[in-house]
């Protein structure tokens, strides 16, 4: 990718941390699904597993590439795997939201049109996550709870990160900003998870 030289290595570390947080969320969603048998929680679990696998593979593959130059085809493949996993994962989450709010399908129609006319993966993922951020913002506006706020902040930062991931051809620093905002987004989700787990 278009990473600045000094940032190589940090990006894979950040991806691995992101993956660990995604797996923690997927584990909690699975635990919840086992308890209440609510299918939405299974979608949440599966989408975060996909996110975690994509992030982990991309993060781990970058490490040998640092040692052995010339493995860029592998790096490209791992990047493609991550972005595909992210597209499916965020798509699944979007489906889970639509499943709960079928009557709001009309509001999402313009979004579907936008998706159809932008073939680039990063742009698709950006719109998917931006939609999820909007959904979680609406949830926060109704609930006014800190956990909902953290989830909203998480998805908002993830959407910002995917916007930055589109921009490195313009300026390489965007690549760094993308990774940092992605990490902060996952940290916000982790903070919510810790708060829930600590509930008595």
């Amino acid at each position: 990718m278009q990473a600045p030289q000094w940032f190589i290595g940090f990006d894979s570390l950040m991806l691995i941390v992101d993956a660990a947080i995604a797996f923690a969320i997927s584990y909690y969603a699975l635990k919840g699904y086992r308890l209440v048998k609510e299918r939405t929680l299974f979608f949440l679990h599966f989408s975060f597993v996909l996110l975690g696998v994509g992030l982990l593979v991309d993060g781990v593959v970058t490490i040998p590439v640092l040692a052995f130059r010339g493995l860029s085809p592998i790096m490209t493949a791992s990047y493609l795997m991550r972005i595909t996993a992210e597209t499916i994962a965020y798509g699944l989450l979007l489906f889970a939201y639509l499943r709960q709010t079928r009557s709001s399908m009309v509001e999402t129609a313009p979004l579907a049109l936008v998706l159809e006319y932008h073939p680039l993966f990063e742009i698709v993922v950006f719109f998917l996550v931006a939609y999820l951020a909007a959904q979680t913002a609406m949830n926060y506006s109704v609930r006014k709870e800190r956990n909902s706020l953290l989830v909203f902040i998480g998805f908002a930062l993830l959407s910002v990160s995917h916007m930055f991931f589109i921009l490195p051809p313009i300026l390489r620093l965007f690549f760094v900003m993308a990774h940092v905002s992605q990490l902060l987004g996952f940290v916000a989700l982790l903070a919510m998870l810790v708060r829930v787990a600590r509930t008595r």
Partner: protein
Amino acid sequence: MTEKTSKYRSQIRIYADILHAIGEERGNAKPTHILYRANLSHDRLVKYLTQLKDQSLIEETGASDKTTYSLTDRGIEFLKEFRKVSQFAEAFGFVL
């Protein structure tokens, strides 16, 4: 979006509502209190109380008109976990 909650409660939500109602009375919940707090008809309450007893989530003490219900350790644990899962799901905007 969270306002568009299904008008039907899931079985697990009804279990949690009954357990919550029993928990409020600290081991001395009368059927009328549970009925009122969990918003159930008498027939449905009897059905769910039987299911909860079968799963060892609650226990019954007393006889006929002096029957009271209390949570077992398993029931307390279930309720605690349900609350956590519910908070987790609600943080994402999903309603159980």
